[in-house]
């Protein structure tokens, strides 16, 4: 049984078996669109918002998804299981690693982070 996962703020869509989390399903197909981090519900990089469709979730770090956010449809894709076709908005992105200083250090940006999130 496969469900259709569509990323609304991107152009990706892919099939997701009911027993596989959405992030894993994406990775198995070699697809992109949702940033991949720990795959354990701990880091928050893969955060999405389900705008449409039925789903259930596994244990997600409260530091990444608050109670309010969870009831608003936010979830971590690595702990998100589709129970029907889903439409998702990607929320998480690779954060910049090194902060700038007050003295004007040029931020060491991670080029490609935006494209990884958006394409």
């Amino acid at each position: 049984m496969k469900h259709r996962i569509e990323i609304v703020n991107g152009s990706e869509s892919f099939g997701c078996p009911a027993d596989l989390d959405v992030l894993r399903a994406m990775e198995c197909l070699g697809r992109k669109g949702i940033p991949v981090g720990c795959r354990g519900g701990g880091c928050g990089i893969c955060k999405v918002r389900v705008v449409e469709g039925p789903y259930r979730t596994g244990a997600m770090s409260r530091a990444c998804v608050s109670v309010d956010e969870q009831s608003d449809g936010y979830a971590l894709a690595c702990k998100l299981f589709a129970e029907g076709d889903l439409r998702l908005q990607v929320v998480g992105k690779m954060a910049r690693c090194f902060a700038g200083s007050a003295g004007g250090f040029h931020v060491y940006g991670l080029q490609g982070a935006a494209s990884q999130t958006n394409n």
């Binding site: 940033p35 991949v36 981090g37 720990c38 795959r39 354990g40 519900g41 701990g42 880091c43 990089i45 244990a59 997600m60 770090s61 409260r62 530091a63 990444c64 690779m94 954060a95 910049r96 690693c97 090194f98 902060a99 200083s101 003295g103 250090f105 040029h106 060491y108 991670l110 490609g112 982070a113 990884q116």
Partner: protein, 310 residues
């Protein structure tokens, strides 16, 4: 005793969201040995060659990340002296004493929060329950090890905002040396610091980023490169979430592989490196060479490695 003051990172306490899965990971896959559970539900582990009672602690929580790291110091007198120095440094907040016995087999601990937001502890006493091979005519390694079977908990890498304050505390108050650093731009702004209190190339490292109190990885020591490759096999065999490797770091020269526990906390097993002495000049890496500095073979920055923390 030539190595004095702070001796080593003696424990790290990690939050996990599913204790049973975490225990299975840290024992069967990583290969630590469970030594105790307490009435708070915490589980205590050690690596096979460690003498003291425990080095890794897991706590069930609704989020991942690190609660605190504990540092063993050489004596009760040093503990009192350093606790006073740390308190008076003006660099820490939330100081307190944790009663003896709060961790099993462990004396009282002095707890404080460092400028990057991480909670650290100093303690002088933990029962030496002994390593798996004993100390009289020992065999080189014990039977019955599981998984990657590192010999010790080695170091942590932590992310936080006030790198300068934390480096000042560790070098000027706690007596650490700066083994290696990464600097950025013409003003040589420090963005990473690798700190040693021993002959190890690092006992803790910090990277500058905007959020306080973030955990990048806890690292465990293997004997050699082949054991790192075998760890990679175990990661695939057990379908563990891999981060990257096996590869070599330019920084510290370590041979390494990174992976995640079931709650998303990053682990490293590594081999190699070099001997650090307190009078060794600091190795400096510049940000334009950060690719090979971090991953010597790929020579490219890896977004997930730099961005993913708990």
């Amino acid at each position: 005793m030539a190595l004095t003051g702070v001796l080593r990172p003696g424990h790290v306490v990690l939050r996990v969201m599913d204790l049973d899965k975490a225990v299975a990971h840290y024992t069967d896959a990583l290969g630590l040995i469970e030594v105790a559970r307490d009435d708070k539900g915490r589980v205590f582990f050690k690596a096979w060659d460690e003498a003291d009672h425990h080095s890794v602690v897991l706590r069930q929580a609704d989020e991942a990340g690190m609660d605190y790291m504990g540092w063993k110091v050489d004596s009760a007198a040093t503990l009192e002296r350093l606790a006073g120095d740390v308190k008076n440094s003006g660099l820490v907040t939330d100081t307190s004493w944790i009663a003896a016995g709060e961790h099993p087999h462990t004396g009282k601990r002095f707890r404080f929060t460092i400028p990057t937001g991480h909670v650290m502890e100093l303690y002088a006493q933990k029962d030496a329950t002994g390593c798996s091979t004993g100390y009289l005519n020992p065999e080189p390694w014990p039977d019955g090890l599981k998984g990657m079977a590192p010999s010790r908990f080695d170091h942590c890498l932590l992310y936080g905002d006030d790198l300068d304050g934390t480096v000042k505390l560790f070098t000027e108050v706690l007596g650490f040396g700066l083994a290696e650093e990464v600097v950025a731009g013409p003003e040589k702004f420090r963005i990473a610091a690798f700190l040693s209190c021993s002959n190890k190339v690092h006992d803790v490292a910090f990277i500058r980023q905007p959020m306080k109190n973030k955990f990048h990885h806890a690292s465990f020591l293997l004997d050699n490169w082949y054991e790192v490759l075998k760890a990679a096999d175990i990661i695939s065999k057990r379908k563990i979430s891999i981060d990257l490797g096996p590869t070599r770091h330019g920084i510290t020269r370590g041979e390494t592989i990174y992976f995640f526990d079931p709650s998303g906390n990053r682990n490293e097993v590594f081999a190699g490196g070099y001997i650090y002495y307190p009078d060794k000049p600091t190795v400096t890496w510049t940000d334009d060479q950060l690719g090979p500095a971090i991953f010597y073979h790929d020579r490219k920055l890896n977004e997930a490695f730099l961005s993913v923390v708990t």
